[in-house]
Symmetry: C2
Subunit: 138 residues, 2 copies
Amino acid sequence: MSTPVDIILKRNQLSITDSRKKILELFVNNSGALEHADIEKKTGEKFDRVTVYRTLQSFLEKGIIHTIPTSDNSVRYALCKDDCKEGHHHDNHVHFLCNECHTTMCLEDVTIPEVKLPVGFQPAEYQMVVSGTCKECR
Amino acid sequence: MSTPVDIILKRNQLSITDSRKKILELFVNNSGALEHADIEKKTGEKFDRVTVYRTLQSFLEKGIIHTIPTSDNSVRYALCKDDCKEGHHHDNHVHFLCNECHTTMCLEDVTIPEVKLPVGFQPAEYQMVVSGTCKECR
DNA sequence: ATTTCATTTGCAACTTTGTTGCATTTATAA
DNA sequence: TTATAAATGCAACAAAGTTGCAAATGAAAT
């Protein structure tokens, strides 16, 4: 039988391994974004650091997850809602960073507004992160 | 005599030292944002890594520079246009990241548009980064 | 100009984070 | 069940960031 996680892996031509299943499950079951350290903790350091790096890398390449810009030196990943085209996907939603619980989440329903750039600037991608207090913490 | 850089330091109650002068000059003379590694390179590794970290930290605390969100694990800093209030400053402009020359720059004239968040979300700060091709590279 | 004193710097030692090559293990398909 | 390509874990490393402390320096007062 195929679990939801297996289906995602298959659809992206990734072989179904223990680490990929466990790590992808984390994203599916977590509403917020995860960074490398979170994953190591949540899997109980069951997998090698290298494996986690490589797993995240391949999820990223396949468009299963996307990164969220942060002001610090961490890299945060979140599940792409639906299938994103391999390579370039459309991540046109706003991200929210809660200053209380420090969770980063996707606001799938909030579309990034267009902005008028100075002459000569050719936009390709827009990223927007709003920080403040989230629904749960207020 | 006081150079422009000296004035900025004095205004922020920072003693005028060699490293602070040189590093602040980099920001004043560079249009784009700088990360730690850039600063070490551009100063010719004249200053200890620790000094650079501490200098950036104090500039940040005084509101002389601000960070720009990035999707990777780097931290990019740029000069605050005018005096920002110590601690919380208003960095309500859009940032542009060029995919050709990899420069990150402040678009001071482009204000981040407001977005309507789902009920319960209390915004405090907005960040927006547009990537694409800049004025110089097209 | 000289002295004083708090601040800043550089060094050393360390922790954490991320990378690479390679042998072993595992998943998939024949 | 077996063959084989892919994924994993280990080891060794490289890079990034931190901390404590002694020495050097800047600013203010004499």
